[in-house]
Symmetry: C4
Subunit: 344 residues, 4 copies
Amino acid sequence: MPLVTTYDELERRAREILPPDIFGYLATGSGVEETLATNDAAWRQFPLRPRILRDVARVDTGTTLLGTPVASPVHVAPTGYQTLAHASGEAGVAKGTADAGSLYVLSTRATASLDEVAAVAGPWWLQVYVLRDRDLSARIVERAAACGARALVLTADTPYVAAKARAANVPVGGSARFLIPELVARDDEGTWQNPSVTFDDIGWLREVSGGLPVVVKGVLRGDDARSCVEAGASALYVSNHGGRQLDGALATAFALAEVRAAVGEECEVYVDGGIRTGRDVVRALALGANAAFVGRPALWALATSGSDGVRDLLSSLHEEVDEALALCGCRSVAEVTPDLVRYP
Amino acid sequence: MPLVTTYDELERRAREILPPDIFGYLATGSGVEETLATNDAAWRQFPLRPRILRDVARVDTGTTLLGTPVASPVHVAPTGYQTLAHASGEAGVAKGTADAGSLYVLSTRATASLDEVAAVAGPWWLQVYVLRDRDLSARIVERAAACGARALVLTADTPYVAAKARAANVPVGGSARFLIPELVARDDEGTWQNPSVTFDDIGWLREVSGGLPVVVKGVLRGDDARSCVEAGASALYVSNHGGRQLDGALATAFALAEVRAAVGEECEVYVDGGIRTGRDVVRALALGANAAFVGRPALWALATSGSDGVRDLLSSLHEEVDEALALCGCRSVAEVTPDLVRYP
Amino acid sequence: MPLVTTYDELERRAREILPPDIFGYLATGSGVEETLATNDAAWRQFPLRPRILRDVARVDTGTTLLGTPVASPVHVAPTGYQTLAHASGEAGVAKGTADAGSLYVLSTRATASLDEVAAVAGPWWLQVYVLRDRDLSARIVERAAACGARALVLTADTPYVAAKARAANVPVGGSARFLIPELVARDDEGTWQNPSVTFDDIGWLREVSGGLPVVVKGVLRGDDARSCVEAGASALYVSNHGGRQLDGALATAFALAEVRAAVGEECEVYVDGGIRTGRDVVRALALGANAAFVGRPALWALATSGSDGVRDLLSSLHEEVDEALALCGCRSVAEVTPDLVRYP
Amino acid sequence: MPLVTTYDELERRAREILPPDIFGYLATGSGVEETLATNDAAWRQFPLRPRILRDVARVDTGTTLLGTPVASPVHVAPTGYQTLAHASGEAGVAKGTADAGSLYVLSTRATASLDEVAAVAGPWWLQVYVLRDRDLSARIVERAAACGARALVLTADTPYVAAKARAANVPVGGSARFLIPELVARDDEGTWQNPSVTFDDIGWLREVSGGLPVVVKGVLRGDDARSCVEAGASALYVSNHGGRQLDGALATAFALAEVRAAVGEECEVYVDGGIRTGRDVVRALALGANAAFVGRPALWALATSGSDGVRDLLSSLHEEVDEALALCGCRSVAEVTPDLVRYP
């Protein structure tokens, strides 16, 4: 019977290890951190309603994401500048994720090259912006496709970068690397954020990437979800950017059911924000998600123990999902139905 | 006018007396202890709506459980390894419970033999698992029937043992005893938990026990409640294992009315989880229970004062039920109706 | 512009002045003090919806209780053994209440004689039990009527005295006095509490008192309210005994509207429990009360400054009611309507 | 990426700088400060539902108030005695507000003359009472109109000044100045508050001011809102006086939608009370406001850095509104619709 290692304990250890400004930058939410605080608590408002007396001798946590088989429904969300947390950076997170059988979403704000990451990653997707310089965006996307990215995750909630409550400046050193060399000369805000991205860019990304599926990240409304699907999105990713963009935005647990209801079974739906345990993952599945993603937990695990820490974190979440499915009377992710949670 | 001894005080005393790892093992919930925390608080969300100006000169707290007369509607839930709390262990709890006129549910994870317990117990039931070794299960059940168990309580929420937040390993010494000698050689997890138990096993248990009624413990849903009844269960026991199995599971106070509604008056319904006072017992009755059970309170009472502590705890709860019934204008358990609580 | 003296400050001063066991006895709630804690907070769940631009140059807080004119809708609830708080005891409270133009409800558990109190009181009612010795009850009631009591307040929520969380024994000295001399020899619980009182006793009290109106105190349900009216009650007093009887009972703020709805305009309705400010009084009026009563605030005021303290407390509450009415756009108690609060 | 300066930080600085009695007077709420505490928290009960993938390259925070163009939808509420916070007083606040392109509402309880303020102000309105001496009121209003006030804001929630929880007396020195010289001799409560003001005075004010639009401040109910409009109000200002008048009054966030629903698009609606961030402003817009006002934040900014502090505060709020609009997918104030918040 293993002892639980909680998220709070993991965060505490990372806080001890990391320089305060770096911890602050990674931990901060925007504004007064309203959304950051509510993301976690929101899942707890959906208690589980377990089923009993099902034969759960064999529980399979495996599932697929856009056709890619993965070992469990919990994966790693894109977060920037992962070398801040640990020297192994993106390659470390990618490797740890692969070792655990999960999917890695590489941030465009990476501090590693596509080649380095691709060399060690299991299945991975690339998080993208549509940059002001569309040619540069196209080049990144083409290179990512060539390096084996299986999908693009378009961050749709960041036309501008929100002001932060704690350390605001990224203390990335001069030796920082970038996804592709052409990004080096462009490391300024003006490059990164393009406030004119619209639903039309979903199709554009698909096209310039040679047909990669496009996942839209940052969806919090049913009407937007429909617009994305109609514009060609292959999947929707419910997120409020971990409380780092619009402060006061709805907790993702509360947005999920609306988004699923809007698109029915037309496409896959993912979620991040405050996912801390395997039970939270099962709640997300019950509320309509196909998979859940963790951001900060992976950073704290990386800070604490590098690649192995990430692998152990995901293995532990994987085991918690396994346990939670069994204790809910479910033999697979597919058996999780909406009645498995009680609505507040 | 007696002074109230609160649960918090009882727990405080036990914490002082017991070694930290033992207290931790008995007190712990699973996961991040969400369910453990909500169980208690949930009852307080159902305020009482007392009736006045009824003649309550004679209040009878007596009732029956599956036909067995008992002095009150509050009894002792099954908990494992009771010698951890006090040398008198299961025999001590059984005796104290009998002295108070309540019913004792003996855990299969006992650290005493069936004979020892049966020698001192009043009316008692045996909590059972369907072990992987069905012959061993059958032997336990047969012996229990021979020793006078009046019913079997099938724990249905533990296909696997959940990871715990505090002390995870049972510090049972080498001299530990077991229900029947054959269990000695099998004290490993693989023996205890069988993840393939289904509704069909309700009938199997009844059969191998020579017709003992089977109570299904761990029911939290109306649909499962109906399935149990249709499979031959004699009663339902609403429980989330005191917050020690699926963390995040619904507080029992919130599951009770749904379970009662699903089965109507077809069978008896019991509940445990966060029952701390006689008023909580009356709330449970109003929400549809025939009786309520206490787990940790009995352990803390045992730790503090052995068998007498258990007797005093139950007598005190008994008196609180008596007082609460009278102050609600009820002369008996039967006069408690759903309108006696306000729904949140 | 006066500074507010809060209830918390008043309580703090009384705690400083009184011996701990006496403060404990007066402050305690029953059980785990659930109801005690929720009584206060409940009023805050009904925010006020003030009206503007009404001519409130003249605000009249005066009203009548069963025909008796009083200066405001806030009065003094019956509480026992008032000499515990201050040597002037019941006479002190009665005088202070009279000085402020409010109504005093004298407890049967008084430590003063009817004559002493009547000599200094303004309008007053007598709180009564129907004692086991009905002749004694009848004598008390007759004497009270002769001394000028204008109504009887039948406490209906105390067939037994509930166990308490803090000091449980009344530290009344041997020199304690009683309402009438015949009570001296009977100062034991067996005398006081009669668990067989029913709705029929409303009529009996009216009769033996020579026709005094009977107010039933302790009503928390609409159906009981109707039964009281049908049995001849002249008014209803919504109360949970200040959280000293059935712990877990509904906060009075939540019971008030139901009671008023059940009786319509057939009779007056009063309330106590957690009334701490003039705004709470106005909320009570909006929820259906004709008047509100304070218990512990009067005791703390008495402890702090004797009779003058009680007068000042009531005058202050009176001023707060005056201010609250004006700021709500009401010129009188009669202009307070249910839409003045927002329901949770 | 700027670091957020929170309201709490601003308040902390002001508390350090100001003498305790002055800070207390400015910070205090009335009564037990129930409303003061709920005003802030209420906005957080309306999470934002941002729209994504809109072209927000150009966000215009500009709007108009009664036809006057302003740079943003956040402005400065009337508060009295601004020299208490900083020697520059009303002129300082007016100038800082003008520098930020917002509108200033000058309090009749000013410690500066109309001329001084008008000399440095941008667009400004005058908050007025209808004084007992109507001639004096008329003279003030006439002078204000002559000095360039564009509207009158009739405070409708103060027929009397409510008792306060903290420093109650205004420590204004003998050298205090007044809006017009005639007010000097009348600095007593009897002058200021006239409890007989009614809806009819809306028309009277309009008339004596030579036709200035009248905004009614202190509206918390739909029925009152309609009465104001029917009596000739040009706009409504939802307010509970920053928790300084009727304590226990509804938080403004909860009153706003009702007021807007009552008047439809017939007139503009404003709100103050607990507005602390640009997101709160956007919430207010979604709930039906045309603009939001800040009171204490401007005082703390003034105390900390004089006129520049006020300008910086408003510029910061302006930027937050800009950011929040963009992150909500809105290019203008007009694009904020009720579906942008989730109702509790």
